[in-house]
Symmetry: none
Subunit: 204 residues, 4 copies
DNA sequence: CATGAATGAGTCTTCATTCAT
DNA sequence: AATGAATGAAGACTCATTCAT
């Protein structure tokens, strides 16, 4: 009965990851103890170590599963868009809505990851990979818009892409840190306004 | 001769802060030990504790002295600008140039601070305060531009301000983390282009 | 069919012992894990515990089966010797050849056993028992040689016996620890020369 | 006042080593905890780690200070001997008397060291070094005796030396393990008798 | 005031052993 | 009988902080 076992293992893994996420979001990675995670996931420490080789491996996995998929998520959710404009719009929406409604923990997890980035090279690499992935996708979207003539030809796709990525994560961090007066909806509107004015072909 | 002593104290404090900054930038706050800082500042641990009550207090002070002054720095460096447009342009410049040429460590320190934000409430509050300060200033600049008619009336000053702040810190973080392919000059140019197209009063 | 089961059990036991021996010789008793042994013997940990009550019991059994039989082995292999001189000679041979050609692992196992002797009383007792057995046999050989007049009458059989035993194990240990420049053949020759000169009845 | 501090440090070091030795002799290296050593030496664990980098470093140092000096000890105590015969005799004496009267713990420490030899390469190397040192010295003694004509010319100095070393450690181990019926004095006498009969030039 | 030795609570991790399936 | 997941006690080591000198 390998199926039951496999499923079981998967469930355990997920339970641990969920527990770890909760603990990390609560007190940060460094202050979270392996015991905390074990207790919250209803396992013993020893059992936990059957699924993850170390505390940092848990964070890494969490990053891969929760943050690393951002690029493909973007791609999936915007592939059926009508055109570049709608694609861009949706991307911005996703960053905003994903933060608020669907995966409120993602933003906080990003905060945790940044917290470790300086001390842990692999965590940093994970963040860089995510950056690359998102930027590549955004760049692609913009370039196609330029080629189709819907976006202004002079726009710098690559730079705009990394700029949007930085903006998104900047917003995410401040939002995750509970910055008062950081309202996501107006921000989204303004970002779109700026992007629109920047990318619209000059009338002449 | 209390004055000499005062000066002496100040020098010591600064030596500690500088040493701490170097250590923090090197291995992050958590991995840095008080001993590391003591050794690098040429003091004993005991002496160090006469100047700062705890390790985290050092980080706090460092943040206040190195990051907390960003708002007034912005203000000072842009006060003699010709008008709102130049002010905005200079602000963006400062974020970019400050990162690269003048205070390359500031960006990395921000990374350190964000790393602790989740686990340390006071650090987080420090970041929020800085956010508020910068946003308030930027908002003021934009609002004055609107009032003088140089900026589009419909622009949302407050949102634009926080948006720019988030963008600046997002860029800083990725830059401080050595993200490859993150070129500051093109980014600055594009940001300005976007801001310009967004803030320019509609023709016609 | 209890007989088949018995055989089966025996095979399992032997498989475990062989596996354990290999593991112990490789990394020592303390560093070897029960898992190591289980994996190498092709069993699960649980199954292994049906054959041996504890990790140390495995070592004990190993000692009994591999080391504890030294006395009877000596006896068996030297019983058909022509006389005391040949018996003594063969005993020395056995210690030397057994180490090199036939059971190279025995020496290393002795090393493992000595490693545990201090921390495990039962292991220590096992070594003592083996010591007693070998000494008793050697003593018997010498005494018979004395009685038959072939050995010098003043020789102290008991002391010579324990001395040879100590020498044998001393050599074994250093050999098992891969001491360079420890050549067994010359050692055997010299030991025999010493024994001969010591045991030979004084001429004149 | 560096002198006081240095002395103090030395005393602490020795206190730790003594405590460690006692603990190791009592329960063996593996079963001894760092806490055990700390408590017995009257220090805290943290303090202990200021003097030794790891538990195994303590054992290593102990070996170097207690066992590693065996060669020079031999040399020192036998240098003023009248001739090769007395030198050999004294060497054997030292191994015997050192065990019983003067440094009863040395023998047990050797047992501890052998216990770790299989699992710790450095410990093993330490034992090998000691072996080499002692063997080199004994060999020298024998060779000089041969050259002076007091020892039989055909004697194999190198082999005899390693043989005696093995014998000495074999005896030490069994003695340290409290083997009943292992009387050192008779053994010493018999060893000397064997050596004498082996090394004496053949009368003809 | 300075020193740096000492403290000791707290962390991650391992592994012999058990037991539900 | 077999499996191997789960247990949890225990251990080595770190480091912010204190305090006698």
């Amino acid at each position: 009965m390998p199926k039951v076992t496999e499923t079981h293992k998967m469930l355990r893994r997920q339970a641990i990851l969920t527990a770890a996420e909760e603990v990390f979001l609560g007190k940060g990675y460094q202050l979270a103890t392996v015991d905390d995670i074990a207790v919250r996931s209803g396992l013993s420490v020893g059992a936990l170590y059957r699924y993850f080789g170390s505390k940092s491996e848990i964070l890494l996995t969490l990053m891969q599963e929760r943050l690393g998929r951002t690029p493909e998520l973007l791609e999936r959710l915007t592939s059926d868009a009508g055109g570049p404009w709608e694609q861009i719009s949706r991307c911005v929406d996703i960053f905003v809505l994903a933060l608020r409604v669907r995966h409120p923990s993602t933003g906080r997890l990003l905060l945790v990851a940044w917290g470790e980035a300086l001390q842990d090279r692999i965590v940093r690499d994970g963040l860089m990979l995510r950056f690359q992935g998102v930027v590549d996708y955004l760049r692609d979207v913009v370039e196609r818009g330029i080629q189709s003539g819907e976006f202004r030809a002079e726009a710098d796709a690559k730079v705009l892409a990394s700029l949007l990525m930085c903006l998104a994560d900047g917003v995410t961090l401040y939002w995750a840190a509970n910055t008062p007066e950081l309202e996501l909806h107006p921000i989204r509107a303004t970002v779109m306004a700026m992007v629109r004015s920047y990318l619209s072909p000059q009338e002449s």
